[in-house]
Amino acid sequence: MKIGCRVFLAIALACLSIACRSNQGSSDTGASGPSVVRMHLPKDPASMSLIGKTDLNTEIVAMRLTDALVQHDEKLVIRPLLAESFDLSVENKTITFRLRDNVRWHDGEPVTADDVLFTIAKLREPETENRSWAPDLSALTSLEAPDDRTIVATYSEINADALEAWRTPILPEHIAAKDADLFNGEFARHPIGCGPFKFVHYIRGQEIVMEANDDYWGGRPEIDRLEIKIFSDQQTAYQALMMGDLDIMVMSSNLWKQVDESPQAERFVRTSYMRYSVWALGWNQRESSFFSDARVRRAMVLALDRESFIENVAEGMAHIGATTFPPSSIWAAPDVEPYGYDPDEARRLLTEAGWVDTDGDGVRERDGRRLAFSLLVARGSQQLTEWMSAWQQQSWAAIGAEMTIDQLEWQTHRERRKALDFDVAAQAFHITDPNMTTLYHSDSMQDGYNFWGTNDPEIDRLLEAVRYTFDPDERLAEMHRLQRRLHEQEPVTALFFFVAPLVYDKRLEGVRPSPLGYANTIHGPREWSWAQEASR
C-alpha cells in the first residue's frame, strides 16, 4: 500500500494547492494602468462584418465601433447621431440626411455620403443576410448623394417608422468595398469604423477588445479600453464578476439574489430594468384549428395564474403583458388591463364556445373532437422555458384542456411554424418599435411573421393607421385603439415581459439602462467612466 498511497497523496496535495491558490482571483490588473471596463456577451457575434447576419450581439459590438446616421435614445426616440440633422418629407416620400462635418474613420479618412451609399447597397444584398434593417428598406427606390455630406433617400411608399432602418452602422467604403466576401474578408478581421471605440483584437469564444478613439467627434470616451468577454454560461460570467474579471453584467434572477447574499455585495450596484422582450403564445387561428374562436383564446389566458408564477418561480423578475406592446413603453395604452387569473370564467367561456366534457375523462370535447393540442416550443437554454411549459400544461388541464409539449430545436420549430403545422407556438419576441404589422396583418400571413393566421379587418386597418400616421399624438391614439382591439381578440398572448437584473461595480458611473439593454442606445459605454481614484 505504501507506494500507491504516497504517489496518490502527493498528487492530491499538489492539485489542491494549485486550486486554492488560483481561486483567489486576479482582481488587480495594476494600480495605474489604463482604465478598462469589462462587459460580457452570451455568445460570439454571428459576424464581425457589422452589418451581416445581424442579431443582438452584432449590434452591441457594431454600435461601439461605428456610428449610424440616427440612433435610439433610452426612450426609444430616434435621435441624430452621425447625421447632424434629418428631414422626413411625407409628400415627397423622401428622407434627407445631412452628415456631420469633419467626422473621420479610425484610419483618418473622412466619412462621406459615399460610405452611406455603399453601406446601404451592401446590406440590401441577400448574401449579407441582414435581418434587422434590410427588409425595412425594401421600399427604397433611390439613394443619392447630391454632395459629400447630403444623402437623399426616396421611397415608393413611406411610413412613420421609416427612420428605424437608418440605425444601421455605416461602413467605410474605401476598405469594405475591397472584400469579395464580407464575412471572411479583411474588414471582418479588423473592422474600421467611425465610432467611439477602435477595434484592437477579437479572440473567438473569448473576448473582443477595443480602445478609445481619441478623435471621436462626440468627444473621447472616458475609459481607455473596452473589453467584451464572451461567456456562454451565466454561472461562469457570474464568477468572473465576483472575481473582478467583469465589471457589469445582466444575469438571471436567482444569481441576482446570490449577489445580495455574497460577502462581496457592497462592491456592486444591483438594479433592474424592463426589457422589451416578451414571451408570447401565438395561437393558430385558422378555421380548422382549436383557437379560431376568440373566446377559447381568452379562456386559455384566464386559466394562467401569471402573478403567482412571477412571484414564486421568476423571482418577481417579470411583468404581465396585455398585448405585445410593452407595458412600460410610451406606446402602452393605459386603459388596457391584462387578463387576470380567473379559471371559473375560463371554464364558462369554453363551455360557451361549445367545448364540454361529455365523457367525464377530464378533457372537453366538441363535435367529437377532444380539446387536445400541442404547444410548439423551441429548445432553449433557459430552464424557465421548461417551467413555463409545464405550468401551462397543468393550468390548462385544470380547465379541461389537454396539452402536450413539442419541444424542438430552433430550425424545426421555425419550419413547423411556417408550414402552419402547430396549434400554439411559444417564443420570445424582441420589440424595438411600435410597428406590429408583420405580426398581425393579414398580408403578413404570406411574407411576414403572421403564422397564426390573424385575419381581422379592424386590426389591419389600425395597423395601417399606426404605420402611416405621422402626427405623433394622432399616431399614439391609433396605437391605443389597436391595443384595445388586440386585447379583445387576443391573437397573440403576451405572457410575460421580462425584467433584466443588472449588476455592476459601484465605482462605474454613467450606466443608463434602457429597455434595449444597458449598452444599446445612443448612450452606453461611451459615457461610462470610473469614479476618480479607481482607475484600473
Binding site: 436567482n254 409545464a390 405550468w391 400544461q393 397543468q394 409539449i405
Partner: protein, 291 residues
Amino acid sequence: MWPTRWPIHVCAVHRPGRWPGPLKRGLALVGVLAVAALAAPWVAGDPLRIDLTATLQGPSAGHWFGTDALGRDLGSRVLHGGRISLAIGLLASTLSLAIGVPLGALAGFRGGWTDSAISRLIETLACLPTLLLAIALLAMAPAFLNGIPDVVRVALVVAFSGWIPVARYMRGEFLRLKKAVMIDAARASGATDLRIVVRHLLPASLAPVLVTASFAAAAAILVEAALSFLGLGIRPSQPTWGRLLSDAREQIDQGWWLAVLPGLALYAAVLGFNLIGEGVRALLDPRTRGA
C-alpha cells in the same frame, strides 16, 4: 461507456448450490425499484401537479423527497420517473438482445466470411462512442420516427447503440462454446449437427444470454438517463431520472434533495443490474465454482 466486464470476478468464491452475495444484493435493489415503480400510480401523488406556493421545499412529512421549483413532489416524480426509465431501459435492452444475440451467435458459430462481415459491421459501429451515436441518432432522425410514441423512439435509439457489446460478447461466447461442444460431438458418434445445436448449444448459451441481458439493461438505463440529462430524451412533460437530474443542475445552489435523491435511484438501478450480471456469471460459470 466503460466495458461492462469488470476485470475481476466480483464474486470470486462462493459455495456451490447457493446464490452469490452480489446476485442477491442486485436482485434486492432491482426488486425494490421495480416494485416501487410499478406501484407508483397508487402509492405516489401526481408527478405533474404544480403548486406554486410550495416551491423548493426540503423533505418533510408532506413531501418525503421535497419539492422542486414548481412545487411538484419530488418523491412521486422519482417513482414515476422510475417507471419510464426502467421501461425504456428494459425495452431497449430487449431490443439490443434481439439484434445482438443472433448476430453475435451467428458470427461465432459460422465463422469465415459471415464472421468477417459481421465483425466489420460491429467494428464500424464500435468506432462511434455509444453516447455520441445515440445523441447523433436522436438529434438527427426525429421525423422518420415521428409517428411512434416517445418511449419507443428513445428505446430504439438506445437499442441501436447498445447491441454492439451484446453481439461482441455473444460472438466470444459462441467461439468458446463451439470448441467445447465440438469436442463432445466428436466423442458422441452419430449425432447430427442439428441435434448438437439444439441439445447442446442452445441450453449452454442460456447463461451468457442472461449475463449479457443484465449488463445490457444497466447500460441502457444509463444511456437513457444521459440522454435525458442532456435534454435529448423523451418529451419534457414526463419526468425521467435523467431529466430530474438535469433540473437539479439548473438549480445547483438550491436544495440538495434535487440532485441527490433522483441520482440515488438511478445509481441503485444501474448498480443492481450490474450486480445481477456479475452474480449470474459467477453462478453459471463453472470456473468460479468452489475453489
